[in-house]
């Protein structure tokens, strides 16, 4: 009985110790809000923008902010960060140079202030505010373990403009649609829109498919994605639940010409897509070739036997 109690206690202590060791493995959770913003400043005016930070993890974090420029990848809405910023209207306050200490579940705000001189050129400045977080004191690297650092970004697009409403100039760069599709496949297309103005604009419009009779068989509303100034972006549609989705038309069998019409603002582009049973033709061709090869082989075997 005594031995049983001792063994049970030792086993329990083992599991408690194991659990405690696992519980000591802590990480990092940083929340920024807003994730992206748009700010318009008239030349000669000042403005400010505030970003909220929250440490939702269990470790105290030291967070260092840094403002960087970003460029678009021309296709999606994911910024490509550059190593520095050339934005000259950001007031370099102490807040940008002092690390922010966030206790577990602690919150803080970083306020950026801008001063745009009169006569400043109308231009858009895509910025990313990078928050790099690490454990305080982790600069002294423990040489028996490799430290991991996390950084989170909040994007801010600053438009300097004296226009009450910036000129909108969205055009279709390409329809991204095939000319031929197999009858048993889907019609998939990915239009790319180009913003030829200096200010970001929201994509709007629709894509419509018509069959050979001119009857509308599908209509895709365009998701209101933001296209930054002098950039391109691949368009998306959306579901009835407002979830973004690709442009895909599914049908059990497609045959003949289909007209795709994409309308963006006041411009419209069209393309004819031809659906043919290519896979059937290939299968038939393969079947024919296989038959010919088989008969020729059979004939040569028969001739060989006769000899």
């Amino acid at each position: 009985m005594k031995k049983c109690i001792i063994i049970t206690t030792l086993v329990s202590l083992f599991f408690v110790a194991k659990t405690a060791a696992s519980a000591q493995e802590v990480g990092f959770t940083l929340v920024v809000s807003p994730a992206q913003s748009y700010l318009k400043i008239l030349p000669g005016n000042k403005a400010s923008h505030t970003i909220s930070l929250e440490n939702s993890g269990t470790e105290t974090l030291e967070v260092s902010p840094k403002v960087l420029d970003f460029v678009t990848d021309g296709k999606t809405g994911i910024p490509i960060l550059l190593g520095k910023t050339e934005f000259a209207y950001l007031n370099l306050t102490d807040a940008l140079y002092q690390p922010i200490t966030l206790a577990p579940h602690g919150k803080a705000q970083l306020t950026l202030s801008f001063t745009v001189p009169p006569g400043a050129k109308n231009k858009e400045y895509p910025l990313s505010i990078l928050f790099s977080a690490h454990k305080p004191g982790s600069d002294q690297t423990e040489l028996d373990a490799s430290p991991v650092t996390g950084s989170v970004v909040s994007n801010l697009v600053v438009l300097v403009s004296d226009e009450s409403e910036a000129t909108k100039k969205l055009t279709l760069s390409t329809l991204g649609a095939p000319r031929f599709v197999d009858s048993f496949s889907n019609i998939t297309f990915a239009p790319v829109i180009k913003n030829e103005a200096y200010a970001a604009a929201i994509a709007s419009g629709s894509a419509t498919l018509y069959n050979w009779q001119g009857k509308q068989i599908a209509d895709f509303p365009i998701y209101p994605d933001s296209v930054l100034g002098f950039s391109t972006r691949e368009l998306r549609s959306y579901t009835t639940e407002l979830q973004p989705r690709l442009f895909v038309y599914k049908a059990p069998f497609l045959l003949g010409p289909y007209k795709l019409e994409v309308q963006i603002d006041n411009s419209t582009e069209q393309i004819l897509i031809f659906a043919l049973p290519f896979s059937l033709l290939v299968a038939a061709g393969l079947g024919g070739i296989t038959y010919v090869l088989y008969t020729k082989l059979a004939q040569s075997i028969t001739r060989g036997k006769k000899l």
Binding site: V152, N155, S226
Partner: protein
Amino acid sequence: MQLKSAVLWGIAWATAWGSYQLALAPVLAERLESDSYVIQFGNFNVTAGEKSSASYKVTDTVGQTGAGPYGEYGVSSYFIGGGFQYIYQIDQFSFSISKLTIDLGELTTGAHNTDDLTLSITTRGAGGYAVYTYETKPLTHQDGSHTVADTICDSGSCTEAAAGLWTNVNVGGFGFNATGADAASDFLTTDHFRQFADNSTAETMQSIMSSSDIVEDETVVVTYKAGLSTASQAAGRYETATVYVAVPGY
């Protein structure tokens, strides 16, 4: 009698005129801020807050003016979410790393050591997100003079941008694998590894997980692997710092 009527008319006109002026009074909004704080989305109302029970959770704001929605997606040409509750449309972006140290143990030839961590992303923005990573320097021995080169995988073809199969324990190096629904597509299996982009040689950090959609607690497991190539490399503990940068889409 006439004087009395005149006074009464005068009072009536004054009351009407005063009411008219009050009705036209401009609406002023307060931006509550000081040198040390800014109150975002201030709202004067009758009642507000979070209410919950075992079967529901609701937030409400009662008594604000002009509460929306106005318009409807797919029906009208506009949509306005008016009112404090639409704060939830304004997105937060959350990034988690399960641990802040990686322990690869003692490296020796003829063996690969591994350790892993988990990345987690939540974003309400329909622009999606991307997570990039890089190393601050090559994997370096405690003595500071020996390094382990970034892996080139079994075939010698993997880079910081393209993963390759790495299972041969006699092929040393340092690399990582990323596994998850949003992991980069070149990580075909858990045995496909990439190098980390080396910041000390100005290599560009690379995306390892991304999505163009809204995600909630989307996770990717990053497995670090290291091993020595030859016996001439010093056995022992090596370390480097790795950085993960989470970027929301717009």
